[in-house]
């Protein structure tokens, strides 16, 4: 499944980049994220709870950030699995200034397997869109909140 999209974050490119690769921020912002801990050089251990249609489950695995070129782009590889299947994705996230804000463009390929693949297939794309919107929306909120604090 191809996954593409753009989102706007109310912060400078530098600030947005910082937020995006900050595990604490990601752990707070990622929908259903139970854990996100830095393991080693760009590799994070992750645990999430998520559901598509009737299939809900917990997934564990890793997120790897590589090819990190602050503040413009990085590559993200997600590899998680749980009792209801697995999700493997690889994508490129790019940041560009958009006035005072930052425009984030991502493009990736996601492979879903196991029971979650067999159920509600037509909902996968919209579920993925919803989850990325929630993620970037939450990061945007963090960015604006932290700006308020300043």
């Amino acid at each position: 499944m191809k996954l593409t999209g753009t989102h706007t974050i109310g912060a400078t490119v530098e600030r947005a980049f910082e937020l995006l690769i900050d595990p604490e921020v990601l752990a707070r912002c990622m929908p259903g994220c139970d854990k996100l801990e830095h393991r080693s050089d760009g590799v994070y251990d992750m645990a999430v709870s998520a559901g598509i249609g009737p299939v809900r489950g917990k997934y564990t695995g890793s997120v790897t950030l590589s090819d990190i070129q602050p503040p413009e782009r990085y590559t993200m590889v997600v590899d998680i699995k749980g009792t209801t299947g697995f999700v493997k994705g690889e994508g490129i996230v790019e940041l560009a200034p958009d006035g005072e804000n930052t425009r984030i463009t991502f493009e990736g390929d996601v492979q879903i397997g196991g029971p979650i693949a067999a159920v509600g297939q037509r909902m996968h794309a919209s579920a993925a869109r919803l989850m990325t919107r929630q993620l970037f929306g939450a990061i945007d909120a963090e960015a604006r909140a932290s700006e308020d604090e300043i």
Binding site: T83, G113, A117, A118, Q121
Partner: protein
């Protein structure tokens, strides 16, 4: 007083009261003391190496009795059998080992990897979550084309490629036919993959009795005896120490004509755990790991004259058979080959099949099994010919029909059609449909921008399976008929039903044949300790083959009853007749004896004619001399909504000829269900695997089955052309509806879209597909 006639009467199914009232006993209704519940861990990957399995946490979960992996059972449970691997029939066939639990590698999503037995089904399911499997994913193959592509990953590494087998059939002189043709009409035809979806999923209960060294295995199966034989081989047990029971079986459609991993696995676990075990298949498991149907894609070429005469046919086809063979996998597409000539006279025919291993569930017999493919392609091609030559599809059919005087008729594929009158069925259907008026209505509606379509299918199928020489695992059938001292009749039959109504139709035959009330007859089936060996119910064979075995056994009983009656009445056997359920001397009904009175004499054994054995029970094993060939005409009238692409079936006319009819109500029921399933293939159903081999249509949310509101009231009728193959003249009707309806609907929809220049569309004909086509023009 006339003899009462059960045969031919619309008698309500004797099975139904228990089914309707919830009094039937399916596998899941079986409860045994100390029963453990089994759950199966299945591969989420289509193709992956297994580098390790850690079951420690699952094993330690409270309530878990045992966790079994492939390594635990590979030396004690033999491979899952396939009965159609004869290299003479399939030159160069590759026969991979098919383990009950994967070791080293998984080859399709849903492949069993481990089994947990626990004190309840929920604990067993929870324990699956605790099993850690270290997978190394490999590239997957999701189609025959991908399997044959250069550089494709090899699924079975004992070989260099994914070619499972090839198969060919040829008759007549195809080259000459194509040289002589005015035109060659070609079309690529796809038969999509389908999921059989019986209402009751599979299920197994196994119990081992150590004192007797006996394994009792309850399974929702169509073939209890074949299963017993195979289980005894897989588990290295003496066959006479294995008892298989098929209790109430809630539908099969061919998918329970098989031997599955769980059946052997549970048999083994019951023995090794010393406790009975139960596994009930979930619906999602059923989608993934119960056999699928169809999945052939091929190029058809027809050599035709400009007047519509068909001279010859070539079919070059790939079958995607999945990762392993199940019981009959390679045999299914061969049935397509046998029936390629349809109801038509051309004899120059050639089919070349290549079958591919892919990372999918195995295909096997699904209602029609190979014949729907043949019927769909020839009936669809007749309409393509009509389209290309600008002829009425009816005219093309009539021009090429085999005449009623030509039977028995040998086809180009060397099968001998037993009897038929294709024109009679067509004419009857046309009359019911009022064809001329329909065409007028179609023309009028087109003026209004409404798209009515009329589609035909003038099918012939091959049933009553079948002569043993032409079957992978025996084609005969058996029965025992016995009369108790009190005159009640017990019938044992090898054709274990799963919805076909043998308890009614077989009793009707006995009631008439022996002169006994239908309520005094009991039909017993599905228990290998009770019933002599039989083959099973599939291929529309139960009545034609199993019923014939019973009628012969009944004939032997009747001969003895008549001899005893003649002796008691001091008459000659040839003068004894049954009147009002009494055996009497012709013309003297007042002195008649009931079957019960004669049976008592037979059992007391004192007043018997000299040399007559006491008792009253006879058996018969019947070997059919040929298949039977039911036929008919189906006409579908549909309207395609120009705004939405939705298809509404306005009328459905089916004239089926299944030979003599024992119970019209049951015949109609079979036709109703068959039409619904064939329409499912035409309009809704498709099992799709994505590029990574994930089945993305694994629930009823994603795999559309037809529902009652999708259908009009069916207009059914019959012609009756008795079969000469069996004494009852019956042919079989279990699959006719499915075989006939798919092309009728496809032809109707494509006819509706004729104003848009549509010549062919692959199934299923979903609204989005039709709507797009209508927008393009």
């Amino acid at each position: 007083m006339p003899v009462s006639k059960s045969v031919g009467a619309r008698i309500k199914r004797r099975e139904d009261p228990r089914l309707i009232q919830g009094l039937a006993h399916y596998v899941d209704d079986i409860k045994l003391p100390n029963l453990l519940h089994v759950a199966i861990l299945r591969s989420p990957y289509a193709h992956a190496r297994i580098n390790g399995i850690n079951t420690d946490a699952a094993q330690n979960l409270s309530g878990v009795k045992s966790v079994v992996t492939g390594d635990d059972v590979k030396d004690v449970i033999g491979g899952i059998p396939c009965a159609a691997t004869d290299p003479e029939g399939f030159p160069g066939i590759k026969v991979p080992h098919h383990p009950v639990l994967a070791t080293g590698k998984v080859r399709f999503v849903g492949e069993p990897i481990a089994a947990v037995a626990a004190t309840d089904a929920y604990i067993a399911q929870d324990a699956l979550d605790l099993i850690e499997v270290d997978y190394e994913p490999l590239d997957a193959i999701n189609s025959a084309d991908a399997a044959f592509a250069d550089g494709a990953p090899v699924i079975h590494e004992d070989w260099d490629d994914n070619m499972a087998f090839t198969w060919s059939i040829a008759g007549g002189d195809v080259d000459a036919a194509f040289a002589e043709a005015d035109q060659v009409v070609s079309q690529r035809i796809d038969h999509q993959r389908l999921v059989p979806n019986p209402m009751e999923t599979r299920g197994v209960v196994a119990q081992y009795l150590p004192g007797k060294d006996q394994l009792n295995l309850w399974s929702s199966t169509q073939i209890p005896h074949l299963l017993r034989t195979q289980i005894s081989v897989m588990l290295s047990m003496a066959e006479n120490h294995v008892r298989v029971i098929a209790p109430e079986v809630g539908g099969g459609f061919g998918c329970k004509l098989n031997v599955y991993a769980e059946e052997a696995l549970l048999g083994h676990m019951a023995k090794y755990l010393g406790q009975p075990v139960k596994w009930i298949e979930g619906r999602r498991e059923n989608f993934l790991h119960t056999i699928h149907g169809r999945d052939q894609t091929g190029d058809v070429e027809l050599a035709v004259k400009n007047d519509g005469t068909i001279l010859g046919l070539k079919y070059t086809v790939s079958a995607d058979v999945g990762a392993y063979y199940q019981l009959l996998t390679p045999a299914i597409p061969t049935l397509t080959g046998l029936m390629l000539c349809g109801s038509y006279t051309f004899k120059n025919v050639e089919m070349n099949l290549k079958a591919a291993f892919t990372n999918k569930m195995a295909t096997d017999a699904y209602r029609g099994a190979g014949r729907p493919e043949a019927t769909y392609l020839i009936e669809r091609m007749i309409d393509v010919v009509a389209h290309d030559l600008d002829l009425d599809p009816l005219e093309v059919r009539r021009k090429n029909f085999i005449g009623k005087d030509a039977f028995p008729y040998e086809t180009g594929t060397a099968v001998a059609y037993d009897s038929g009158d294709y024109t009679a069925a067509l004419d009857k259907a046309l009359k019911i449909a009022d064809y001329e008026a329909l065409r007028e209505q179609q023309a009028e509606l087109r003026e209004e921008g409404r798209y009515l379509g009329i589609g035909f299918s003038t099918y012939v199928e091959i049933c009553g399976m079948g002569p043993s020489a032409a079957m992978p695992a025996g084609g005969w059938e058996s029965s025992t008929v016995r009369v108790d001292p009190t005159g009640k009749v017990t019938v044992l039959t090898g054709v274990s039903p799963h919805g076909q109504g043998q308890e009614t139709t077989f009793a009707q035959l006995i009631a008439d044949g022996l002169g006994v009330d239908i309520d005094d007859i009991r039909i017993i089936h599905g228990d290998t300790d009770t019933v002599q060996y039989g083959i099973g119910t599939f291929g529309s064979r139960a009545t034609a083959v199993g019923g014939t075995a019973m009628v012969h056994a009944m004939g032997k009983v009747k001969d003895k009853v008549v001899d005893i009656a003649a002796h008691l009445l001091e008459s000659n056997p040839q003068d004894i007749v049954i009147e009002d359920n009494k055996y009497c001397v012709r013309g003297a009904p007042e002195s008649g004896l009931t079957l019960g009175e004669i049976a008592m004499v037979a059992h007391v054994g004192v007043e018997l004619p000299e040399g007559t054995e006491p008792g009253l029970a006879e058996s018969h094993f019947f070997e059919p001399p040929n298949f039977t060939y039911p036929f008919g005409t189906h006409i579908a009238v549909v309207e395609v909504d120009a705004d939405t692409g939705e298809v509404e079936i306005q009328r459905y006319i089916a004239v089926d000829d299944c030979g003599n009819i024992i119970n019209p109500l049951i015949v109609e029921g079979q036709v109703h269900g068959g039409i619904a399933q064939g329409v499912g293939q035409a309009l809704y159903e498709e099992a799709i695997y994505d590029e990574s081999g994930q089945m993305i249509t694994g629930s009823f949310m994603d795999y559309a089955l037809p529902k009652a509101h999708n259908f009009p009231r069916f207009e059914l009728a019959n012609t009756v052309t008795p079969s000469p193959v069996n004494p009852m003249g019956v042919k079989g009707v279990g699959e006719a509806g499915t075989i006939g309806s798919t092309p009728a609907i496809a032809n109707a929809v494509i006819d509706a879209l004729k104003p848009f220049g549509v010549r062919h569309i692959d199934l299923p004909l979903r609204p989005e597909k039709l709507w797009k086509l209508m927008q393009e023009t």
